[in-house]
């Protein structure tokens, strides 16, 4: 398929259809609304079902029903709306249901504002709803990845019978780039034994509920499920990491600027690399093995609290200084990142002396 120019949100919506998604229910909230608007007409074109729900709560619980019935189902939101989805995400996990949820991240806390942000990291990676769970989280950094990762999200969610979250952001959602939409595939709603379809006489009744009620080995089952995700699904891109003294760690919109910062730093003779995360959970700890000459790590995130710093410390065994370059109102700039790196290198030198 040839490349076309598309807005990030619309490319994501189209690629979801390509993946066989035929059920969507969502609620308007900026900056994800173009996904809802696009699917309001396009879903009908491909013979699927679109519902503008009365709330995020209704939307996610409709998705739960559609997923239980065997469909590839999607809901999308942003910031405060994504928080409301948490009830349903937790229930999807508890019932072993595949579904895809998109958070087009926006700035802030409470209402926040409509500009891009990366302040949902904790909510995304720690399981934001009731209890004892996590979900795979994919973080696209371009319009093409918006398409590719939503496409992959449906496969992953079925592989593990577990919801998968795609964490885009306002900048990726609003920008237009050239994109190749993946090939359309058909999804058969009857392909799963477990999906509800009507219980034939003599068949075992299908129950979609807390797996705790139905799986006597549930503790081991859950441990195995998360272990498998952590072993098999780490995705990342390492850029000039092997000889880097300062390693940047970033995802999404921030990682694009970091890529440029690495290039500029190298031109200045600074040994800088970048670990670009594609999965936020499972955290790509394997990526850090390549950082053999690292002296310090710097997370670049569009939040104030440096939400990812702890994960970098865990991934590096707490052996290195880990700092945070945060901005919330503006997308971080290369000059600022370079200045921060130079400062860090000085600090490291001092420490060594």
């Amino acid at each position: 398929m040839a490349k076309v120019l598309m807005k990030g949100n619309e490319a994501l919506a189209e690629a979801a259809l390509a993946a066989g998604c035929r059920f969507y229910s969502g609620y308007p909230i900026t900056p994800q609304t173009e996904i809802l608007e696009y699917l309001s007409w396009r879903m009908e074109d491909v013979g699927g079902e679109f519902i503008q729900a009365e709330s995020e709560l209704a939307g996610i619980n409709m998705v739960l029903g559609a997923a239980a019935a065997g469909a590839r189902a999607l809901t999308t939101s942003s910031g405060p709306g994504f928080s409301l989805k948490q009830e349903g995400i937790s229930y999807l996990v508890a019932a072993d249901l595949p579904a895809v949820i998109v958070d087009v991240m926006r700035i802030g806390t409470g209402l926040g504002d409509i500009a891009q942000g990366q302040g949902d990291y904790w909510q995304l990676t720690r399981g934001g709803g009731h209890g004892d769970y996590r979900t795979i989280v994919l973080a696209p950094a371009s319009v093409q990845e918006n398409a590719d990762l939503i496409y992959k999200a449906f496969d992953l969610s079925e592989k593990y019978r577990h919801p998968v979250i795609v964490a885009s952001d306002a900048a990726i959602g609003q920008m237009i780039e050239a994109v190749e939409i993946p090939e359309f595939v058909d999804h058969d709603i009857d392909k799963f034994d477990w999906s509800i379809k009507g219980c034939k006489k003599g068949d075992e009744q299908r129950k979609i509920q807390n797996i705790y009620y139905t799986n006597p080995d549930y503790e081991d089952y859950l441990r195995d499920k998360y272990s498998a995700m952590e072993a098999e699904e780490q995705l990342y891109e390492n850029i000039m990491v092997d000889d880097a003294e300062v390693v940047l760690v970033a995802f999404g919109i921030s990682s694009r600027v970091c890529r440029e910062a690495v290039q500029v730093a190298r031109e200045k003779g600074l040994k800088v690399g970048l670990i670009r995360l594609i999965t936020l959970y499972p955290y790509p700890v394997k990526a850090f093995e390549e950082a053999k000459n690292a002296k310090a790590f710097l997370t670049v995130e569009m939040n104030i609290l440096g939400q990812m710093v702890d994960d970098v410390k865990l991934a590096t065994g707490g052996k290195f200084p880990v700092d945070h370059f945060g901005s919330i109102f503006e997308i971080p700039e290369t000059e600022g990142i370079i200045a921060k790196i130079e400062q860090m290198l000085k600090d490291v030198e001092k420490e060594e002396a």
Partner: protein
Amino acid sequence: MKLKAPDTVTFTQSGFCPGCGHGLAVRIIAEVMEEMGLSEKLLAIVDVACGSLNIDSWRFDTIMAAHGRPIATAVGVKKVRPENPVMAYIGDGAAYSIGMAETMHTAIRNDNVVAIVINNSLYGMTGGQCAPTSLPGQKTTSTPRGKDPKKCGMPFNIVDAFSGLDIAYLSRGALSDPANINKSKKMVRKAFEKHMAGEGFCLVELLSPCPTNLNMTPVKSVERISNEMVKYFPLGEFKDKKEE
């Protein structure tokens, strides 16, 4: 008179209290499904409250959805499997309190799902708290001095709330005595007939006894339905949209 229950009733040991109305509702639904030839097709969505125990009481493919959300979940199911009958089975707390928005908007859209609402005038699973359907003066664990309508409002009547809405069917029956149980069954059957004809949202409310949380004998708790509840919750068919 038929004495054998349908095959879709499992007779596994249920968690229902003696004198509870849920068992009657299960039987009515199972019989209607058998009579309509839908036993192998029904997709049921239960709430997490007392009605959730039905997931083991019947042999229909069933989702246990989040509290208050079964009607929304049913809408999702129906869109994916339009050929199957799809029923949300919930209590009055789910339908008229935490899930009010879902109930209302499903009615506004006239989505083609059946909702069976068991109204026992209180929160059963959590031990008998006040509900929007509790009667004035009713003593509950959260209104120990009696429900004060000045604080909590009058009992919520779905018929009033749906008065301007263009839904397929709305009725109220009572699981109080054989005559009313038979009437209730006819209402459930009519709801499913309209549902299968694609007419839209059908809601049947069933007044149901809860002797445990009312601190009454089973007999007293069904007498309460006839003597007190029907004053606030009149029985009958309130919307019966004719097919166009």
